[in-house]
C-alpha cells in the first residue's frame, strides 16, 4: 500500500519476481539497454553505404535481404538495418526515460502543490491541467515540434508537455487523501512547514503509484517519439530513430518488407516489455491506486 523505495527494493522484489512475464520484460529491456549502450562495439557502422555486392558471380543491388552479414537486411543504400535499429533503440530509450523523467517531476510537483495548498492554487493548476488534457495529444506534440523546430531536445519537450497533466491529476488525488492522515496532522502540530510535510511525509507515501505511473508512461513516450519521427516531426536524420527508419522503409514495402518490418517489430517488443514490467509493478504496489493509469497508455 504505502511503499517507500527502500521497502520496495527489499520485500516486494520477491512478489515482483513471482510474475514471470515481468521478469522476462526486465530481461529484454536490459538486453536492449546493453545493446544500445555498447552499440559501437557490437554492430557495424550504421552509415556504411554499400551500393553493390558480388555473390555467386552475380552483381546484387541493395536493398539486400537478411543474410549472414546483415541480420535484418539492408536499406536502399546498403546500410545495415540491424545497426541502424540498435542506434535507433538508443534514441528510443533516451527519449522514453527523459520524457517520462521530465513529465514526472513536473506532474508530481504540480500535483503535490495542487493537492496540498489553498483552494485557489488548486483550482488554477487543475483548470490548466484540464486545458492541456483537452488537446488532441499527437496534434499538440506535432505543433510544438513544428514551432520549436524538430530534433531530440524539442521532441522531449513536446512529449513532456503533453504527458504531465495525467501525472499531476494522479498525484493530486494521492496528496488529497494523505493530507487528512493523522501523521500529517502530527507533523503540523510539532511545527513542520508545508514544504517539509509535502516532501518528507506526503511524497514518500505516494511513491507506489508514482513508480507505477513512471513505468506505465514510458511506452507512450517511446511510441509518440516514433510516431512523430515517422511523420517527419520528430528526430531528424542523421540521428537514427526507429520511427524514421520505418518511414524511410515505407516506399520499399513491396520489394523489401524487412526494411520497415524489423524496426517496427523491435519497437513493439520494447514497448511490450515495458508494459509487462508495468503490469508486474501494479501487482506489487497498491493495484487500486494505479488503476487510473491503465487506460491512458499507448495511444499512438
Amino acid at each position: 500500500m504505502r511503499t517507500s523505495i527502500r521497502e520496495f527494493a527489499t520485500s516486494d522484489w520477491r512478489r515482483f519476481r513471482r510474475s514471470r512475464l515481468a521478469v522476462v520484460g526486465v530481461g529484454v529491456i536490459l538486453l536492449f539497454a546493453l545493446l544500445a549502450a555498447f552499440a559501437p562495439y557490437i554492430v557495424t557502422d550504421p552509415t556504411q553505404i554499400e551500393m553493390r555486392r558480388e555473390q555467386d558471380g552475380q552483381t546484387l543491388r541493395p536493398p539486400f535481404p537478411p543474410n549472414r552479414l546483415n541480420l535484418f537486411g539492408t536499406d536502399q543504400l546498403g546500410r545495415d538495418i540491424f545497426a541502424r535499429v540498435v542506434y535507433g533503440l538508443r534514441t528510443s530509450l533516451i527519449v522514453g526515460i527523459l520524457v517520462r523523467g521530465i513529465s514526472m517531476v513536473a506532474g508530481v510537483l504540480l500535483g503535490l502543490i495542487s493537492g496540498f495548498f489553498p483552494r485557489y492554487v488548486d483550482d488554477l493548476i487543475m483548470r490548466f491541467t484540464d486545458i492541456m488534457l483537452a488537446f488532441p495529444v499527437i496534434l499538440l506534440a506535432m505543433t510544438v515540434t513544428a514551432v520549436l523546430g524538430p530534433g531530440l531536445v524539442t521532441v522531449c519537450v513536446a512529449l513532456a508537455l503533453v504527458a504531465w497533466p495525467d501525472v499531476a491529476r494522479l498525484v493530486r488525488g494521492q496528496a488529497l487523501s494523505i493530507r487528512g492522515q493523522t501523521y500529517v496532522e502530527a507533523a503540523r502540530c510539532i511545527g513542520a512547514g508545508s514544504w517539509r510535510i509535502l516532501l518528507r511525509h506526503v511524497l514518500p507515501n505516494c511513491m507506489g503509484p508514482i513508480i507505477v505511473a513512471f513505468s506505465m508512461g514510458i511506452p507512450g513516450a517511446i511510441m509518440y517519439e516514433a510516431g512523430l519521427s515517422f511523420f517527419g516531426f520528430g528526430i531528424q536524420p542523421p540521428t537514427p530513430s526507429l520511427g524514421s527508419i520505418i518511414s524511410d522503409g515505407r516506399g520499399y514495402i513491396t520489394v523489401a518488407p524487412w526494411y520497415p518490418g524489423f524496426p517496427g517489430l523491435v519497437l513493439t517488443i520494447l514497448v511490450l516489455s515495458v508494459n509487462l514490467v508495468g503490469d508486474g509493478l501494479i501487482d506489487v504496489m497498491n493495484p487500486r491506486a494505479a488503476l487510473g493509469m491503465q487506460n491512458s497508455r499507448s495511444a499512438t
Binding site: I131, L139, G227, T268, V271, S298
Partner: protein, 308 residues
C-alpha cells in the same frame, strides 16, 4: 440530471478559451509569414502586402488574439489559407467522415472485444484464455502507425483483398482497413476488462443460484453475468473512444482518409493556422461531449449513481 448536463456543457467554455489561448501563444512563435504562405513562393511583394493587410496580420498581437476569440465565439472560423474556402464548410465536409471511421472502429472493437472477453472468462486458464490474453497484451503494444503499415502490406499489397487507402461513399471496402487498425488496440483492452469484470461477477451468490436451478451456461452468461459486468465495460468503451479519437489523425494520414485528423495534419504541414486552430477546437469539443455522454450513460446503467 439535466442541470448536471447543462453545468458540464458550460464548463467546456473556459476550457476552450484556454485551449485557444495556449494554441495562439504557440502558433505565434511559429516561424514563417502567413501572408507569404498564402500568396505562394513566387508572389509579388505587393500581393503579399495586400494579403497581409486584408487578413490583418499587420495588427498588434493582442488585437489579433481578441479578434480571434470574438470570431470563434460567433462561430466564425474564418477562411483556410490553403483551400481559400470558409473553414466551416471544410469542417462540415470532413468531420462526419471522422465520426464514421471512429464509430465503425469502436463498434467493431466492442463487439469482438467483449466476445473474446466472454470466451476467455468462460474458459478461464484454458488455452483459449491464455491465447486471447496474450494477443490482447500484444495488441496494446503495437505502434499504431507501424500496425497500419503492416496491415496495408498484408491485405492490400500481397493479398490484394482491400484497397490500401482512400475514401469511398458509405460503409464500403475503404473503411475496413483503417477501422480495423484503429480497433485492434481497443479490442485487446476491452477483452481484458470484460474478462476481469466477468470473473468478478462469477464469484457472486446469484450466479451459483442460477446454476443451481439448472440454467444453461450460455443463459447464465447472457442473463446474469453480462448485465452485471456491464458497468466497467461501458466505462472502458467510453474512455477508449476518447483514446481512439486521439489516434485518429495518424490513421487518417496513413490511409488517406479525408477526415478532420488529416485536415488538421495538412493544415499543420502547410502552416494553415486558422484551419489548424478550428480543427483542434472541434476535436476538443467532441472529446468533451463524448466524456459527458459516457458519464450520463454510466448513470443510466448503474441507477445507484445519481448526478445532481
Amino acid at each position: 440530471m439535466l442541470g448536471y448536463s447543462v453545468r458540464r456543457l458550460i464548463q467546456i467554455v473556459p476550457i476552450l478559451i484556454g485551449l485557444v489561448t495556449v494554441l495562439f501563444a504557440l502558433l505565434n512563435i511559429l516561424p514563417g509569414d502567413p501572408a507569404r504562405m498564402m500568396a505562394g513562393p513566387f508572389a509579388d511583394p505587393d500581393v503579399v502586402k495586400t494579403i497581409r493587410e486584408e487578413m490583418g496580420f499587420n495588427r498588434p498581437l493582442w488585437v489579433q488574439y481578441l479578434d480571434n476569440l470574438g470570431n470563434l465565439a460567433r462561430g466564425e472560423f474564418g477562411r483556410s489559407y490553403q483551400s481559400r474556402r470558409p473553414i466551416l464548410r471544410d469542417l462540415i465536409e470532413v468531420f462526419p467522415k471522422t465520426i464514421q471511421l471512429a464509430v465503425a472502429a469502436e463498434v467493431a472493437s466492442a463487439l469482438v472485444g467483449i466476445w473474446l472477453g466472454v470466451i476467455a472468462a468462460a474458459r478461464r486458464n484454458g488455452w483459449a484464455d491464455r491465447l486471447i490474453m496474450t494477443i490482447a497484451a500484444l495488441n496494446l503494444s503495437f505502434p499504431l502507425f507501424w500496425l497500419a503499415l503492416m496491415l496495408q502490406i498484408a491485405f492490400a499489397v500481397f493479398l490484394r483483398l482491400l484497397p490500401p487507402s482512400g475514401y469511398g461513399i458509405g460503409f464500403d471496402r475503404f473503411i475496413i482497413l483503417p477501422a480495423f487498425t484503429l480497433a485492434l488496440p481497443s479490442l485487446g483492452l476491452l477483452a481484458r476488462i470484460t474478462r476481469a469484470a466477468l470473473l468478478e461477477v462469477m464469484a457472486e451468490d446469484y450466479i451459483r443460484t442460477a446454476r443451481a436451478k439448472g440454467l444453461r451456461n450460455a443463459l447464465v452468461m447472457r442473463r446474469h453475468m453480462l448485465p452485471n459486468a456491464l458497468i466497467p465495460i461501458v466505462s472502458t468503451i467510453g474512455t477508449d473512444f476518447v483514446r481512439l479519437l486521439g489516434g485518429i489523425p495518424i490513421i487518417e494520414v496513413i490511409f488517406a482518409w479525408p477526415g478532420i485528423g488529416k485536415y488538421a495534419y495538412d493544415a499543420l504541414v502547410f502552416r494553415d493556422l486558422p484551419a489548424l486552430q478550428a480543427s483542434v477546437v472541434v476535436l476538443a469539443v467532441s472529446v468533451s461531449l463524448v466524456n459527458l455522454a459516457v458519464d450520463l450513460l454510466y448513470a443510466y446503467i448503474n441507477p445507484r449513481i445519481r448526478y445532481v
